[in-house]
Symmetry: C2
Subunit: 175 residues, 2 copies
Amino acid sequence: MDIKSLIRTIPDYPKPGIMFRDITTLLSDADGARDAVRALADPFRDQKIEKVAGVEARGFIFGLAVAIELGVGFVPIRKPGKLPFDVIGEDYALEYGTDRVEMHLDATSHGERVLLVDDLIATGGTALAAANVIDKLGGNVIACAFVVELPDLGGRKRLESTGHRVVSLCEFEGD
Amino acid sequence: MDIKSLIRTIPDYPKPGIMFRDITTLLSDADGARDAVRALADPFRDQKIEKVAGVEARGFIFGLAVAIELGVGFVPIRKPGKLPFDVIGEDYALEYGTDRVEMHLDATSHGERVLLVDDLIATGGTALAAANVIDKLGGNVIACAFVVELPDLGGRKRLESTGHRVVSLCEFEGD
């Protein structure tokens, strides 16, 4: 299954000059969606992963499916104010302004081996903030796995330079 | 596996008097999360489901996992302005004001048999709006499946009165 061929490119979204990589066409394909989940899990089947974490909102789509594929539980990483229990968070810079991700205090702890999953890595800002929150809780981020990588935006380098392993299923150059 | 026992109740969230049913404790339990996904899929294994649809954000968590369990694709139903391709939407009333859900125009069509999945049914407003958008696209909503049902809030009656089948894995009375 060629996962990349199932991803639709939408020019000039959300603004002129941006080539948006749309995973909904992959998700709606039964074989493609299943194979993407398996491919996200494959590098980690012998890595003793204990939790999968996924970032709101599109990271939620793959997160639980990958967790079940690996036989572990799933923990959500959310935008501010969305989680009902006690939380810890991390702010991160956007092009303009800042954003924040939060996790429940009991989401992970004590060196638990966590796989972070999201649909796409661009600059890596969200993923790095998510990894930092897992770190704060005492979890051990074994790797960050993405369906789509936009290598020109430098996210892999940024995550790797902070000691994180990065895996992606396909790349789109020139973004 | 007693799914209900894995759901945490948080009193007075998001405001005094509300008993919030927190599914993150279910999700983080490997056996509980897997069993919930299987239980959501079980009633529909012989129902020739062709797509699973899930509503942003917590419906995304279960949606793809249930779709893979049933061997079909997944389509996301999102808040306004989040989907990159051409969309159709439906407004619905909240306690104060209105909200809206949107789907891609190519998400479903031509009588396709769709299972709608979400984490929780309260008043049923979001689910009914989501089912209406699927209808507008020509999809056939076979059922709406939820992990948690709050029967006192009337969502099941509301959906059933509009011809929709409702399935839930557990109920919390008195909400």
